[in-house]
């Protein structure tokens, strides 16, 4: 595996391999000194053209725990402000000797484009509405460990609630969860669903769609809440945050109707009082902090697979 651009590029076997490798990284992270020399001398550069705190620091921590060197490229203080093109920026930094770029960009497909301009490995850390593959992997790992489903998600029912249409997290998660065998229901008002569900990656995804969270709630093993982006109000896709919250927010009444074993997940940053009305610290099934912790381990597994394993984890088979 040379790049990680999209969950759609991964076979279920490759997803399983990455999740198994993540077990090893979790063990490293539990050591008194959570650092191994595996990627000594490798240079990992974060190139973030969009705001991010958790994804960037998570990748940074992951690279450092594998002893790679890291460099952060802050767009706000860079020559991009002097009009340098994306290609010139990438080629300039690559000329300094880079083994992997971790890229976030507002345009879908930008990481794919960058693979043509450099020999370095490219990790997509979020591109437009398209993909956020490491988020999907850390979500899958969180479900795998939280519900003890090491062999796959057969029979699990996962509801993804919120702004599906504009969400790269939803696209990536649907692909990963269904590849692992889960049944996925998308829950959202019609204005926040893609015009055709088939548009999700251009395939006919085996997902159900519901406009009614209360009908779905008692049946799910995982309730995955997406962040409601406030700028959607301006696009007139939602009448008001209060109305969204009343229809789709997780309040105490809805939390009480979840199955006792059900996990509640959120990719962050959370809008308290909108999609998350209850205090997540009071939810017995909240896996939100586990997601953050697992994010570091999953990104270690990704970086190690791209830079450290010499070739594909399981060969070409």
């Amino acid at each position: 595996m040379k790049h990680l651009l999209s969950i759609a590029d991964l076979s279920p076997t490759e997803i399983h391999s990455l999740l198994e490798l993540t077990d090893h990284m979790v063990e490293i992270n539990h050591r008194p000194i959570p650092k191994v020399p595996a990627l000594r001398g490798k240079n990992v550069v974060s190139l973030f053209f969009e705001d991010s705190t958790r994804t960037r620091t998570s990748f940074d921590t992951a690279a450092k725990r594998l002893s790679a060197d890291t460099m952060n490229f802050a767009v706000s203080s860079s020559s991009v402000n002097k009009g340098e093109s994306l290609r010139d920026t990438v080629e300039t930094i690559a000329a300094m000797g880079v083994d992997a770029f971790v890229i976030r960009h507002k345009s879908s497909g930008a990481p794919q484009m960058i693979t043509r301009w450099t020999n370095a490995s490219i990790v997509n850390a979020g591109d437009g509405w398209h993909q956020h593959p490491t988020q999907a992997l850390l979500d899958s790992y969180t479900i795998r460990t939280g519900l003890n489903r090491r062999d796959g998600f057969d029979g699990l029912h996962i509801a993804i609630v919120g702004d599906i249409k504009h969400s790269r997290v939803a696209r990536s998660d649907v692909q990963a969860f269904t590849a692992l065998g889960a049944r996925v229901t998308l829950v959202a008002p019609p204005t926040l669903l893609p015009p055709s569900i088939a548009l999700l990656g251009g395939h006919d995804w085996p997902v159900d769609v519901s406009y009614d969270l209360d009908a779905v709630l008692p049946d799910v093993d995982v309730l995955y809440l997406l962040r409601v982006q406030r700028e959607r109000m301006d696009d007139a896709l939602l009448p008001s945050l209060e109305e969204y919250s009343a229809m789709y927010g997780l309040d105490a009444r809805r939390a009480a109707r979840l199955a006792p074993h059900a996990l509640v997940m959120h990719p962050g940053p959370m809008n308290r009082g909108v999609e998350m009305v209850v205090d997540p610290a009071e939810l017995p099934g909240s896996a939100i902090l586990n997601q953050v912790t697992n994010g570091v381990a999953v990104r270690m597994a990704v970086l190690f697979t791209l830079l450290g394993s010499g070739s594909d984890l399981r060969g070409d088979a």
């Binding site: 595996a38 990627l39 010499g310």
Partner: protein, 168 residues
Amino acid sequence: MSREVLSASDVRRALTRIAHEIVERNQGLEGVVLVGLQRGGVWIADALAALLAEIDPAHPVPVGTLDVSFHRDDVGLRPIVPGSVTDIPVSLGGCTVVLTDDVLYTGRTVRAALEAMNEYGRPRAVQLAVVVDRGHRELPIRPDFVGKNLPTSSEEQVSATSDGVVIR
């Protein structure tokens, strides 16, 4: 072409001898911990623990496993398929660690193991038990307990399991 060098009962006898040697060398089993290297050394640590329990039931020996994948010096040069996750049940500080592996060859796995083990405390001593020493060392590393010294050519492949030792 494969040829059996040790049968299952030969391996069994060799491990029994090694178990007695471990007791003799350490004047008992006080503070001894067995650590099997993933993946080929894990069954040996388990087998030795069972044999040691027969010799001295009063001192049960803790058994751990160590995955050295992320400490190897050939990361990036060859595909790495990690075995199971490292599991060291006790702090190794002050203990006598007996590392176990199936075949001792270049010594690079043992070097990685010595480094990986640092994370779990400072052992009083580290000893190495292997079923087969096939030579061709590339590092100054030697075993303390050997089932069989086996001269080989570097083209050959050696496998050592509880079913016997086979050269291919």
